[in-house]
């Protein structure tokens, strides 16, 4: 796997999740939460911008972060399927954010010492931001899980629905890139991730689902039907007015 492909995975995870979170802007359950989700979305899109710009530079075909974000088709996106699922209710958004943020934090912590200096620098910055995302979503997991029957049940349903999409996060990473010290072996992050997630779920009186069938395909460009709808909305302005600047 080329380094640019690896960077697309990292960038696309953040771009698509950032876009999903941005859908809450103006719709958050309370003002503070509206602002928080928009802020986290901004962090993620900012990280995606840096990672996709680097992917384009490494690829050497003259593609920028903008061309990669706005002028690729669904099959060319390399994000895991979990980030493209519709935002659902607030419990679903928080549960997804929690599961993915813990993964991202563990991944970025290691990527800070990547042999690729550009990637290591972006990771060091993103790691600090992601710690805030983890703390935010873990705090809500406690409030929702250990809150009312309604909030508990909705959060448990969200975790159960999301679980089969978590396996893809820990799929194989290119061995050469890992051996060169550039990429992080995601398989090795699975156990630390489960430990952290289990600790929070337990404190939140939620049950960790059993590992069963795991949905995969996003890393190869096979996506759920939801990605196309998201891209249509995200890309329409750039595609309707190619080259427009403001």
């Amino acid at each position: 796997m080329a380094l640019s492909e690896y960077l697309l995975r990292l960038g696309d995870d953040r771009l698509i999740l950032g876009h999903r979170l941005s859908e809450w802007c103006g719709h958050g359950p309370i003002l503070e939460e509206d602002i928080a989700l928009a802020n986290i979305s901004l962090d993620l899109i900012g990280q995606a911008n840096l990672l996709l710009e680097l992917a384009g530079k490494v690829e050497g075909q003259g593609r920028t972060a903008d061309t990669l974000a706005y002028f690729r088709e669904g099959v060319e996106f390399r994000n895991a399927q979990i980030v493209e699922l519709p935002r659902g209710d607030f419990a679903f958004t928080i549960a997804r954010q929690f599961l993915v943020s813990v993964f991202e934090a563990l991944q970025l912590e290691k990527l800070q010492s990547s042999k690729n200096a550009d990637l290591a620098g972006i990771a060091a910055k993103a790691f600090k931001e992601t710690r805030y995302h983890v703390r935010h979503s873990a705090g809500w997991m406690l409030k929702l899980g250990d809150g009312t029957t309604e909030s508990h049940d909705r959060t448990q349903i969200a975790i159960d629905d999301l679980w089969r999409f978590t396996g893809e996060l820990f799929g194989n990473t290119d061995e050469t890139l890992v051996e060169q010290g550039i990429a992080v072996d995601c398989v090795s992050l699975r156990e630390p991730w489960k430990r952290e997630v289990a600790r929070v779920l337990q404190a939140a009186t939620l049950t960790m689902p059993d590992d069963g069938f795991m949905q995969r395909g996003g890393r190869e460009g096979r996506h759920t039907e939801h990605l196309g709808h998201l891209l249509a909305e995200m890309q329409i302005v750039a595609r309707s007015f190619p080259g427009a600047e403001w």
């Binding site: 503070e32 802020n39 962090d43 550009d118 600090k128 710690r131």
Partner: protein, 164 residues
């Protein structure tokens, strides 16, 4: 070669558009200014990956250097070491407080645990009345760098420049 002192002074006058009591040098985001031939090169490190003020800051730095006589300016974005609020000087922290924003508390570098489940015990003094009877309303505020706090003594919300 380290840039002439008047170039440093010019950049030292450029204020953060969101926190207009701090200069970009106070904030620690200007890492170096040097002259490479006829070009003045400024190393800038972003505060947050998605901070929308960065573009404005870069434009302002370029304009200030042109004003100071530089003909050619290049902004060079650097990521390492990653920006931290630990770089904000004591003097700058006092100006922040006077402006109504509580400065970052403690050291960002001291954070080690990934998920802290217990309530954090730090207290942030209200920048208006100085009371420590305050509570956090949200870790995310009007800009990426600020959190929302509330003072129970003077019953006013205030912003806190969070440690990162």
């Amino acid at each position: 070669m380290r840039a002439r002192e008047d170039y440093w002074n010019a950049v030292g006058e450029v204020l953060d558009p969101e926190v207009p009591v701090l200069s970009v040098v106070d904030l620690g985001i200007v890492r170096d200014i040097r002259e490479e031939g006829d070009v003045v090169v400024v190393d800038v490190t972003p505060t947050y990956s998605g901070c929308p003020a960065m573009q404005v800051i870069e434009d302002d730095i370029t304009a200030a250097l042109h004003q100071a006589g530089a003909s050619d300016v290049r902004i060079n974005t650097v990521f390492q070491p990653a920006w931290t609020t630990d770089w904000i000087s004591e003097d700058a922290r006092q100006r922040l407080r006077a402006y109504g924003i509580a400065p970052p508390s403690g050291s960002a570098a001291a954070e080690t645990e990934l998920i802290t489940l217990r309530r954090r015990v730090e207290t942030i003094a209200c920048p208006r009345c100085g009371s420590s009877n305050t509570e956090q309303r949200s870790e995310f505020g009007s800009t990426a760098c600020k959190a929302i706090w509330f003072c129970n003594a003077c019953h006013e919300p205030f912003e806190y420049l969070k440690a990162i």
